[in-house]
């Protein structure tokens, strides 16, 4: 098979859905026009733990327009079949929250009732009139005060001995605040029953996960539930499982026999969907006098809920990022009276990297070594957690390109040595890593007789540009122009795909799209070479390529014909194929990760303690880049997210009653435009042939890792103050 010319892949194209988005025509979850839809508003528990003793709905029901108030008092019993974590669910181990099935309150904000009304105003007003009385118990919401679960442990070598014998030792404790995704689109669901079949328009990063969760909750066959989600207004992980409000919307629609639209308020995002858990993290590091790591001991406590045990990939960086003979890790989840966390951009890795990369900076300073040099000295030859070689690992190159492009040589290693007026200026860097995950995926490809193609997968596009990048893959594999490929996603009727998260969409879905398109192209070529009337009759199929919808001899473009001619002459309305991808089963031969080196320059007001990022650079080893423009946007966007984690973001709980006190965008601070002056991303040219057919390693997550520690390390360089707590705010620097 001749390789197809790559016209679209790797080209800096603009988004295929750009026009829809800039004209306001892209339809997000709550915006689908469903005839007769009524509005539902959830009533949230106002205690942190306890039982509901009574619910007075009279005032709400007396409101004109209010149709129904549903609570555990009158809700139908739902089967809630088991739907534990699998390739069809992301529900963590435990017993998930079952809406309106009993009188128990497990966390502040838990849904206790829902008001359905013909207008939004009436539903909102009605919800404010529902009076709920409780028998309240004091909630346990403090990570540092609650009892932990049995730990997950990892060990290699003898970390305690390694630490004892190390020439240089550090014992450091870090704390990282809880973060909320706060995508701009609130979570929203429209549910419509037709007989026993349910159609749901939902904000989700996984139509399949939402579909199976609804089916499990209601005891329906999976195929009786259809989930539609063509546009997702940001996710960052919050859409990776079907949350209670999705079930509530479907329940409300069933009870009222009307289509129901339910949009969470901004406040409700803070307890109605998950979050990046807070961590307390102790790290002990031992090295020799040259900075070669001897041992690392990690002890970390993380928030989870009382009813589900959420864990994430917080351990791998400590096992594989640096050459470390002795490692021990103790990872404890701490059940609290909170709702269940979920992955948030760079899950686990971002948290661990903040700790490890801050500590590496501290060690470099202690040893009077350049932080990059220290990292180079600890570059491993293989993945020490598995003994496997790295498929590709170009971290050294990230360092050198980054140092050169950022002007790292201008950094004065001595803290507090650069001042401009009231501002202390500092530079910092950090390494980043994220694993290259891949899961089975399928895609349906149809080439029509008019020379256009339709590609369908159940995948999502929460912003990275799945529509665009998959169109690029499909266009090149089919030999079509971008305009003649219609890529569709976000419908559970389309072929199954994994969750749109964990940076696996391009590797998994893209590989399935590639496979499906290759199959269709081969069918067409076969048809041509076997068709006596084709100019390509009798030619070796391997000598044919397709470009601009025209099949031709690779070495003689004049000999060939268009898809249209071929298909119509053969009376074929279309050609089609089901593409699929599955990562190799069994033991892997390689260790697959994407890497980065992230650099930051900050200014810290010497007396007022304010930190402002001046510029950042990320250099990425992410394998092949399908869509450079989009990849650039993703990287600089993650830097903005990382600035938030580093300097601003902190979900605050009032431990007296478990209330989140800053559940809004005026008090939970995320970066605004004025916080972000100059950001730059560089992707190393290349590909990872071992990872997947496209050679990609995933990039949406890795770009987030390393941002916060690079900033924290720059703050140290600017001020001489080592802050081991996120976010870094003025009070820590005064």
């Amino acid at each position: 098979m001749s390789p197809q010319p790559q016209a679209a892949v790797g080209a800096p194209l603009s988004r295929v859905d750009g026009r829809l988005k800039v004209t306001g025509k892209a339809k997000y979850a709550a915006e689908h026009n469903v005839d007769g839809a009524v509005h539902a508003v959830i009533v949230d528990a106002t205690i942190g733990r306890g039982r509901i003793t009574s619910i007075d709905t009279r005032a709400a029901l007396a409101q004109p327009g209010v149709l129904r108030v549903i609570s555990h008092r009158n809700a139908p019993k739902l089967p809630y079949r088991d739907n534990a974590m699998s390739n069809k669910s992301n529900n963590p181990p435990g017993r998930r929250l079952r809406v309106f099935q009993d009188d128990r309150v497990l966390f502040h904000g838990q849904p206790v009732a829902v008001v359905i009304a013909t207008t939004l105003e009436a539903a909102q007003h009605g919800a404010s009139l529902v009076k709920v009385h409780y028998d309240a118990a004091p909630p346990s919401t403090e990570l540092t005060k609650a009892k932990a679960d049995k730990p997950t442990k990892y060990a290699r070598g003898d970390a305690e001995a390694g630490l004892r014998n190390a020439a240089v030792r550090m014992d450091l404790t870090y704390s990282m605040a809880r973060n909320h995704h706060n995508a701009m689109e609130p979570h929203a669901t429209i549910a419509r029953w037709t007989g026993d079949k349910l159609t749901v328009w939902d904000k989700t990063q996984w139509v399949l996960g939402t579909q199976t969760e609804i089916a499990a909750a209601f005891g329906l066959p999976q195929d009786d539930v259809r989930v539609i989600s063509p546009f997702v207004g940001g996710g960052f992980g919050s859409g990776l499982r079907g949350w209670p409000h999705v079930i509530i919307a479907a329940l409300a629609a069933r009870v009222t026999k009307r289509p129901v639209k339910l949009v969470l308020s901004r406040k409700q995002q803070y307890f109605g969907t998950g979050f990046r858990p807070a961590y307390e993290y102790r790290l002990r590091v031992g090295s020799d006098r040259h900075g070669r790591l001897a041992a690392m001991a990690h002890e970390l406590d993380a928030e989870t809920s009382s009813y589900e045990t959420f864990t994430e990939g917080v351990l791998p960086p400590g096992q594989m990022l640096y050459s470390t003979p002795n490692v021990q890790q103790t990872y404890r989840t701490v059940p609290l009276d909170v709702n269940t966390p979920i992955w948030m951009r760079g899950p686990g890795f971002a948290t661990a990297s903040f700790v490890i990369e801050s500590a590496m900076d501290e060690l470099a300073h202690k040893l009077d070594l350049d932080p990059i040099e220290l990292r180079r000295r600890n570059e491993p030859d293989e993945d020490q957690s598995s003994g496997r070689p790295f498929s590709t690992r170009r971290l050294r190159e990230c360092y050198s390109v980054g140092a050169r492009e950022f002007g790292w040589h201008r950094r004065n290693a001595k803290p507090r040595s650069r001042r401009e007026g009231d501002w202390l200026i500092g530079m910092g860097m950090a390494a980043g890593v994220y694993d290259t995950a891949r899961m089975p995926a399928q895609a349906r490809v149809r080439l029509d007789a008019d020379g256009t193609a339709v590609v369908e997968t159940a995948s999502s596009d929460m912003g990275p540009g799945t529509y665009t990048s998959q169109t690029q893959v499909a266009a090149d594999a089919l030999g079509l122009t971008m305009r003649t490929v219609d890529f569709r996603l976000g419908d559970s009727l389309f072929p199954p795909t994994p969750p749109h998260g964990g940076s696996m969409t391009m590797a998994s879905v893209g590989s399935a799209v590639l496979d499906g398109c290759n199959q269709v192209r081969r069918q067409a070529i076969k048809l041509a070479v076997e068709d006596k009337e084709s100019p390509l009759y009798g030619v070796d199929a391997n000598d044919i390529v397709v470009r601009g919808g025209r099949l031709h001899l690779k070495n003689n473009p004049t000999r060939g014909e268009k898809y249209q001619q071929l298909l119509s002459r053969n009376n074929r309305t279309h050609l089609e194929a089901q593409g699929s991808f599955a990562p190799p089963s069994g033991t892997q031969r390689y260790s697959f990760y994407a890497y980065n080196a992230t650099f930051a320059e900050v200014a810290v007001d010497a007396t007022l303690g304010l930190v402002r990022v001046r510029r950042m650079l990320g250099v990425y080893d992410a394998g092949r880049i399908i869509s450079p423009t989009l990849a650039d946007s993703q990287a600089i966007g993650a830097m903005v997210g990382g600035i938030g984690t580093a300097l601003l973001e902190h979900t605050v709980t009032d431990h007296r009653d478990g209330r989140i006190v800053n559940a809004n965008l005026a008090d939970y601070l995320v970066p605004v435009n004025a916080d972000v002056p100059d950001l730059k991303a560089i992707y190393l040219d290349g590909e990872d042939r071992e990872a997947d057919p496209l050679g990609v390693k995933g990039l949406g997550e890795v770009v987030m890792i390393g941002v916060a520690p690079a900033i924290a390390n720059a703050v140290f360089n600017a001020t001489g103050r080592r802050i081991r707590q996120l976010p870094i705010t003025a009070e820590a620097l005064l």
């Binding site: 997702v232 912003g463 435009n673």
Partner: protein
């Protein structure tokens, strides 16, 4: 402005009083050049009017509290948060939303610039960013990137497209 600052505990909290239909008003306003007369619940925000009654879902609800800018539209030529604007107050007003910005098939230069600069990802804040950018340019706050950044800080983009949003506004202001 507001006399007798505290009114909490008004009689309207009771079922009896609240059972009356919520007051409505008749309002005539112009939306994207089309004059429309509607009878609205006094509580209906301009944002909910656009999204729930007119099917103009381009204006987005991000926070419903004036803290994100996703709902930004022009009212009488000025950028405002439509979530904090009560429809009942808009008698005679001219409202421009993202749906009314393009001239037929021809995009407004700022819409085009957003595409060219890749100034969005998920697209949810984008209509608000663009309407705010139109206001920013009109107000003349485009003297420098710093000025644009400050002037555009009322529009949160969680995907983090700020650098490119500034470029798009700069590009469009430069053309004028």
């Amino acid at each position: 402005m507001i006399a007798g600052g505290v009114t909490a505990g008004s009689a309207l909290g009771d079922a009896q009083a609240a059972a009356e239909p919520a007051p409505t008003s008749r309002v005539a306003l112009t939306v994207n050049g089309t004059r429309r007369t509607v009878t609205v619940d006094n509580r209906t925000s301009l944002l909910d009017l656009l999204r729930e009654h007119f099917g103009l879902t381009g204006s987005k609800k991000g926070c419903n509290a004036g803290a994100c800018g996703a709902c930004t539209v022009l009212v009488d030529g000025q950028r405002v948060n439509s979530c904090l604007t009560l429809t009942v107050r808009l008698e005679g007003a001219e409202v421009t939303t993202i749906e009314g910005l393009a001239d037929g098939d021809e995009l407004h230069p700022l819409q085009q610039a957003f595409i060219e600069q890749d100034a969005f990802q998920c697209g949810y804040c984008t209509p608000g960013q663009i309407m705010s950018g139109v206001g920013c340019i009109k107000e003349g706050h485009t003297g420098s990137p710093e000025e644009i950044r400050e002037s555009m800080s009322g529009n949160i983009c969680r995907c983090g497209c700020y650098v490119k949003i500034v470029r798009a506004v700069e590009q469009t202001a430069g053309r004028k």
